[in-house]
């Protein structure tokens, strides 16, 4: 089960009802049980990685908090971090070879590391209740694909107990609806097109591969931002507020700004726990460049083990040297945003390809065998869809883009909807739900049931 599966609908309904029936001081226990059911429904073998991480995190943080002598404290901290990294590394290596896959290990390991670091830095006290630490690590809205939470936010809310808030729950419902729409209307239909292009890359023209790469940029956003919205919305229903992971990333004017808007929880994590401890920008330009390089290499390795990810990370490292000057002219901003998207999408090509060799082959075909005429003549750009389906997808992308523009102005869809009469609003809900059900059924079995980032 994931946040998008059909079984999640009755699951969250039951969790929600029982959660607010249970006395507030015991709610975390119910949430922990629900989280374990949710997570282990994907495979019982996942219990090994998760329980090892919980036990190690709880006891190492607890131990660090009891030591007062700074040197010993630092040694204990280093041992705890190394142990966590070894654990994470082993599971990731095994997962990459398909031997012992541990779902969400990349996300919950970072969350666990964040807790140990915060305890060491005395920014957050060690939690004495292992069940609360366990819930912090395996909180079901975030365990599979984040957002990567911090103890000061999530663990604090767990300790305080989630209280029902109508406005938060209302916001959550809109986030869930938005997430489902992004996933169903955009990410899933595009998924089969991108898959078709990339799995048979040698038989497509350069124009088709360029088109598929552009589509992949859109798919990745719709898929991951959709997931993050589902995660935030689900947490909101249960009275939790979790980190915002996306902030209109493709409206960024430069790549630096893009990273302030894309997968924010990971960017912040890398910034706070790697970039700044290494010295950030405080130790001169060369050292800053090295620090940025380290951050992007860590990010690349975190995303995957192939060389294509290293190239992706290296490209983003290079992008950091492009001057990032804001402009107030709309026309220039649009051009800069488009150029920024082009750079990012170029890097996505390496991110999506199965290997560096494939990525280079695709690049070569884009530059040397573009063949636009043949692509349009034979309709190969449709990539298995009909013209009507492709038009519908484009329409959905345009609507999503319009919503992003509205969000950029600081206006939420939720706020806009309150101005619509109740009957009209509910009619829109029903029509949208019907549309979601039909499109869900259309795409069922075409490979879009899981989330791209759940694979990391």
């Amino acid at each position: 089960m994931n946040l998008y599966s059909v079984f999640f609908v009755p699951f969250i309904f039951i969790v929600f009802i029982v959660y607010y029936i249970v006395p507030i001081r015991y709610r975390y226990i119910w949430l922990l049980i629900s989280s374990l059911v949710f997570y282990l429904s994907n495979g019982y073998s996942f219990v090994f990685g998760l329980s090892a991480c919980i036990v190690l995190t709880h006891f190492s943080a607890g131990f660090i908090s009891t030591i007062h002598e700074e040197k010993r404290r630092k040694t204990a901290f280093c041992i705890a971090i190394i142990a966590q990294l070894i654990l994470f590394g082993c599971f990731r290596l095994a997962s990459n070879r398909g031997l012992f896959v541990q779902l969400g290990v990349s996300f919950y390991s970072l969350q666990a590391l964040s807790y140990i670091i915060e305890v060491y830095r005395k920014k957050y006290p060690a939690e004495t209740n292992i069940l609360k630490v366990a819930l912090y690590i395996c909180f079901f809205p975030t365990i599979i694909s984040g957002p990567i939470e911090r103890p000061a936010n999530l663990l604090k809310q767990i300790s305080e107990g989630g209280k029902f808030s109508y406005s938060l729950a209302h916001k959550g419902v809109y986030a869930i609806l938005g997430g489902v729409l992004l996933k169903t209307m955009i990410a899933n239909p595009i998924n089969s097109m991108v898959d078709m292009a990339y799995s048979g890359y040698w038989q497509h023209t350069g124009a088709v591969m360029l088109w598929a790469t552009i589509l992949y940029g859109i798919q990745l956003f719709a898929d991951f931002a959709g997931y993050s919205m589902l995660a935030c919305g689900t947490a909101n229903l249960l009275g939790f507020e979790i980190a915002q992971n996306f902030k209109q990333p493709y409206l960024a004017e430069n790549v630096k700004e893009f990273w302030d808007r894309w997968h924010i929880s990971l960017s912040k994590w890398l910034q706070d726990y790697i970039y700044i401890p290494l010295g950030g920008s405080r130790k001169g330009r060369i050292r800053k460049a090295i620090n940025v390089f380290v951050v992007f290499m860590v990010s690349a390795v975190w995303h995957g083990s192939g060389f294509q990810f290293i190239v992706w990370g290296f490209l983003h490292f290079l992008y950091q040297f492009i001057p990032a000057k804001k402009t107030k002219y709309l026309g220039v901003r649009v051009i800069k945003s488009v150029a920024c998207f082009a750079l990012i999408d170029f890097a996505w090509l390496f991110f999506r390809a199965d290997s560096l060799e494939n990525a280079l082959y695709i690049l070569k075909s884009i530059f040397c065998q573009f063949d636009l005429k043949q692509t349009t003549y034979y309709g190969s750009y449709l990539l298995g869809k009909s013209k009507g389906e492709l038009l519908f997808i484009c329409l959905c992308v345009l609507i999503a883009f319009a919503v992003e523009l509205i969000h950029e102005k600081g206006i939420t869809v939720e706020a806009l909807s309150t101005k619509i009469p109740l009957v009209v609003r509910w009619t829109i809900y029903i029509v949208l739900t019907l549309l979601i059900v039909v499109i869900y059924l259309r795409n069922y079995g075409t490979g879009g049931a899981s989330f791209i980032y759940a694979g990391f």
């Binding site: 808030s165 029903i430 059900v437 059924l441 069922y444």
Partner: protein, 313 residues
């Protein structure tokens, strides 16, 4: 606190209403897809066209159950079906009850068993299968639709060995093989699409202990029944494209070691390989080669030693 409770109840009420709407919409689509006039429209809207084919295999079981004085039964996979289909119309001594590979050896056995029980005059049974069809295991793509549901719907699962029944129940679930579910699966392409894809994504295939495990089990049963009734059982291969030659060679040793291989040693040895140009999918004849005239010619080439089959043309 009281305000919070009121807010919660207010929200819960709306949540419940929405859940009911969602259930009605999703259930409604599935329900309406069972019958016309909505069926076709919903199938198009949900892109379920590939799940609309009718159940043609039930007719085979019904024909096996209906008595006549014919003495020859021809059963087999879709290649055998292409070769022999309708040849029994002008023949008053043979019944052609060929089906497809997904019906598997288990389905062939059920048709055979029913036929033998209802045709005491039967003297010869021809089982004509591609070796890859003969060694086929249950899967989630085709066997549920073409084998398990057909057998369950016609109450024929009891004809199978307990171990096979267990495998079927374990893989597809008891519920999915009960009357109402089968009816809905067969009638609603939307539900069929959901269920087949769900199984393919979430369940695992139970592997065979040897390549010809199922074949051995049911060939032995057929052999024993034939012996007790004085019927001659013939196991023949369909003609096979050169494109499949390597795959056949890969299973030749397994076949030689199997029980079927010891009783029917010539089955693989006698295979007739034809040129790839005669087929598009490497299994069935296509283009001009699928014309009746050419198929008759092919029967003449492949089954030159089988007088009864030659006489069918």
């Amino acid at each position: 606190m009281q305000d919070s409770n009121m807010e919660y109840k207010n929200f819960l009420r709306k949540y419940l209403i929405y859940m009911i709407i969602l259930t009605v919409l999703a259930g409604g689509i599935v329900f309406l897809s069972l019958k016309e006039p909505f069926r076709t429209k919903i199938v198009r809207a949900t892109s379920s066209e590939n799940f609309t084919d009718e159940d043609v295999l039930t007719e085979l079981i019904n024909r096996a159950d209906s008595h006549n004085d014919n003495s020859v039964l021809i059963i087999g996979d879709s290649i055998a079906n292409q070769l022999f289909k309708n040849l029994d119309k002008d023949n008053d001594s043979a019944d052609v009850l060929t089906s497809n590979a997904a019906f598997m050896i288990t389905g062939q056995y059920v048709v055979f068993k029913h036929y033998i029980e209802n045709h005491p005059e039967c003297k010869d049974v021809y089982l004509i299968m591609h070796p890859l069809s003969l060694s086929r295991n249950f899967d989630y793509e085709w066997s549920y639709k073409y084998s398990a549901t057909v057998l369950a719907k016609n109450h024929c699962l009891e004809d199978l060995e307990p171990s096979t029944r267990n495998t079927i129940y374990k893989m597809y679930g008891h519920l999915s093989l009960t009357g109402p579910f089968i009816y809905m699966i067969q009638e609603s392409p939307v539900l069929r699409k959901l269920w087949l894809n769900y199984m393919a994504m979430n369940r695992e295939i139970i592997p065979l202990s040897s390549t010809f495990e199922l074949a051995d089990m049911y060939m032995k049963n057929m052999f024993d029944i034939c012996n007790s009734k004085g019927v001659e059982l013939h196991l023949l291969s369909t003609p096979i494209s050169m494109g499949h030659k390597e795959m056949i060679e890969n299973i030749t040793d397994d076949y030689a070691k199997s029980w079927t291989g010891s009783v029917f040693p010539d089955y693989i040895k006698d295979i007739y390989y034809y040129d790839n140009a005669m087929t598009e999918d490497l299994s069935h004849f296509s283009g001009v080669y699928s014309d009746r005239e050419h198929l008759d010619e092919m029967i003449g080439c492949v089954y030159a030693d089988e007088g009864i089959l030659l006489g069918m043309r």
